[in-house]
Point group: C3
């Protein structure tokens, strides 16, 4: 879609430098932008690209205006403003109306759209403007708040509560049973998982990520949480508001992660621990106990690759490190 | 559903303390239970909760009866008995009948249910009371034993054998091709995977877990195996009866895991190795060679997180540990 | 299907030893082969199996003919030739025609097949002989080249370009949004992902693997790349031709992997790094920086399991290794 710089400046509270009638209709990086594109500048290391850009306009901070020879939208947080303008230029396309092949067992608001071959079970409640993609499944008594979007092929099982303005990518599974097995003499007995999953507003969940329902109490994901692809959220996990978790992370049962945390890819959390607010975890770190002070934590993931030959030798020594430490102690005594 | 304590005591072989006519209709933890709830006590650390509980009845061992002031069902294994009672109170709801939108290319027993938009291909054989969820796919010549349940959106490819009373969660894929690629001068040639997947009775498989078919011989999962979410089971893997595997584990091709093993989350197994029966593997451990003695094994996953600054310094030293060991040896000579 | 040895020898350029009229109709390992089976010999350690085999014919190198008492197809690369012959004997079965339950919003070549309940959106373009499995979703303006196959339950979102002769397994998601979130005072703002995914010819992608679309530029997977199951390919990743990646690998955003690389299972790549051509990465290795020389690299994955007790002690020492190194330095000064 196409907008004048004046429209954008007013809508997003920016100061405008340049012709208010100038129009932009697409986004691009500073270096690849052409006429009609709007770009943004937020990182000093791209200063030369700002100077050289062919973008029609750039979103930037006031202090950087001196290096910009094209039109500019001036604001405090150019990256976030860029994200909002991009959302406006590229609105999410969703299904329109309820496709005739969808199987819908409830009454829906007129503003709801349901894609081909989607299935919505009895007792489900969908808010205004909810969009359900093709081949999705929405289980019994599940509630989905206004404006939330399920892309194609999402599975939400029964008795799940989802807030407003959420976005779930293809292959997401919400409300699968937690992994509860009681050992008995002749194997394991499945423990029914009767808790729910309760998800706040503005939560985004990436492709093929799984969120298990709680055993008795609920699994909880608070407002504004962003989960990347292929993440495992086990039963009774609680993720605090505005925490961001990168791909392939695994979170074991009953672990509580605080608000505004940043969790790197491939990190793992053992169960029944509590991570406080504002914690940053390096990618691949294994979190094995409570974290009670905000800060930046690393772990296994920090081993960088090295030549396989050197690695093998170091590992062999590592397996004897306890012995090495004793020998050093012995030497120190002498 | 609602049951009297007498009904439960008789059905599960418990001794009953209290009024046999008392009814329970839901389950809860000791601390959150209210009137009408049945709870259980199996872990001494919750003793005070047992003393204080408002549950209508508690499942416990005889030795713990003295701390229980409400009705009790007395048995040897309260946790397993609780699981069985919970299954009775919360029966699995499944589709009823064959939905008109399902595409079914075979004759089915009358007791089978098939959800909306599910697809069942030619030659598939389904046992009594099998339940196929919405949007599932069952491939040609696949057999599914009596009482097994596919939740929504499960994909079982052709020529897979599944036993009785299994439960597969949404997004599960069974029978995908093993990863076989023959290198040639101009790239790789796909090796057809013509083995099957053979799955025993009472197997549970978690959301978005994948089980590849064998290359020539079969991939085998024995009775009572429980797999959590997002697990990879490669071609020709063999998992022994009653082994339990937590989420995001990866098992490489042709690896054989014994019976009654417990595998922690995020563990990995290289290919073509054999793990004996009754092995416990720590979460995140990388298993790189055969394990021939039962016991408890750890590995990479044991590095606990620490302040990122300390971690970085330790890693830097680790990269020189082989040199450090040599220097200690040198010192010892003097 | 059944073929004479003469047909196979001519089709695949092999020299034939034995009766040209002899027929084979199935494949098997040397040790399990029976009459009618063709097998192959490529690894000296199975020499005794070659001597003893009951296969009707064996594919092998000329030098190994002396140990073969049955018919033989002689060629340079028996493993690749075996793969090609196996493809001929076991052709991929795909849907025939367009199932009446499929929702197809475009014109298709007559040679295209579409399974039950699949959905193909406006603007999609499918080449000759493309096969779309049951319950698949193909988004708007996505192009799929001739001969490519989507197994059941694959999701390809809008504006994805896929080459010829590709194979995508169940649960694959292509074109999901990259994980782009701009921090702002009250949480994160989603950054629209407007790039595409561009996939070359002869690419195979395993079950439940996810490939995100680019933010502005495209995510690129070149010809002949083979991805196993449950792999995460983030936005703007570029994977070079004929690179093979094992299961559960995670590749962070904007990372470029060269041609003909071999990546072991569970490996991880941080973002914005570049791996040159012809690199081998051990399984579970964490790649944290550019690799500019071809070769073999290891990392975290190399820690073999050990008794949990020994592991715990070694880990405890590792956490003090920086201190240990200082103490050795102190001793050396004396």
């Amino acid at each position: 879609m196409q907008f004048t710089l004046a429209e954008l400046a007013i809508k997003f509270g920016c100061e405008l430098k340049g012709n208010p009638e100038t129009e932009v209709s697409s986004i691009a990086t500073l270096s690849s932008a052409l006429a009609g594109d709007i770009s943004f500048f937020a990182n000093k290391k791209y200063k030369q690209q700002l100077i050289d850009t062919n973008a029609t306009a750039v979103i930037l901070r006031e202090a950087d205006l001196e290096n910009c020879s094209v039109a500019a939208l001036i604001c405090e947080n150019p990256y976030a403003t860029y994200a909002r303008i991009a959302q406006l230029i590229y609105p999410i396309k969703s299904a329109v109306g309820v496709h005739s092949s969808a199987v819908v067992n409830v009454d829906l608001p007129k503003s709801v759209s349901v894609g081909a071959n989607a299935v919505i079970e009895l007792g489900a409640q969908l808010g205004e403007n909810v969009s359900i993609g093709a081949n999705c499944f929405v289980g019994e008594n599940t509630h989905i708040g206004a404006g939330s979007i399920l892309d194609a092929n999402v599975t939400i099982r029964h008795d799940v509560l989802i807030g407003e303005d959420c976005y779930f990518h293809p292959g997401v599974v919400i409300g699968s049973d937690g992994f509860g097995q009681a050992p008995d003499v002749d194997g394991y007995v499945k423990i029914p998982q009767v808790g729910r999953v309760v998800i706040g507003n503005a939560v985004e969940i990436g492709a093929n990520t799984t969120v298990d329902r709680g055993t008795l109490d609920d699994t909880i994901i608070e407002d504004g949480v962003k989960l990347d692809n292929l993440i495992q959220v086990a039963h009774n996990v609680h993720i605090g508001a505005h925490t961001v978790i990168a791909a392939t992370v695994g979170i074991s049962g009953s672990t509580k992660i605080g608000k505004r945390c940043l969790i790197g890819g491939r990190a793992g959390f053992v169960g029944h621990i509590e991570i406080c607010d504002d914690v940053i975890i390096n990618s691949s770190t294994v979190v094995t106990s409570n974290i009670t002070e905000k800060g930046h934590y690393g772990g296994t993931g920090g081993f960088p690759h090295q030549a396989a030959k050197d690695w093998t030798r170091n590992v062999a020594q590592f397996r004897r490190i306890n012995n090495l430490a004793k020998r050093v102690k012995e030497l120190e005594k002498k």
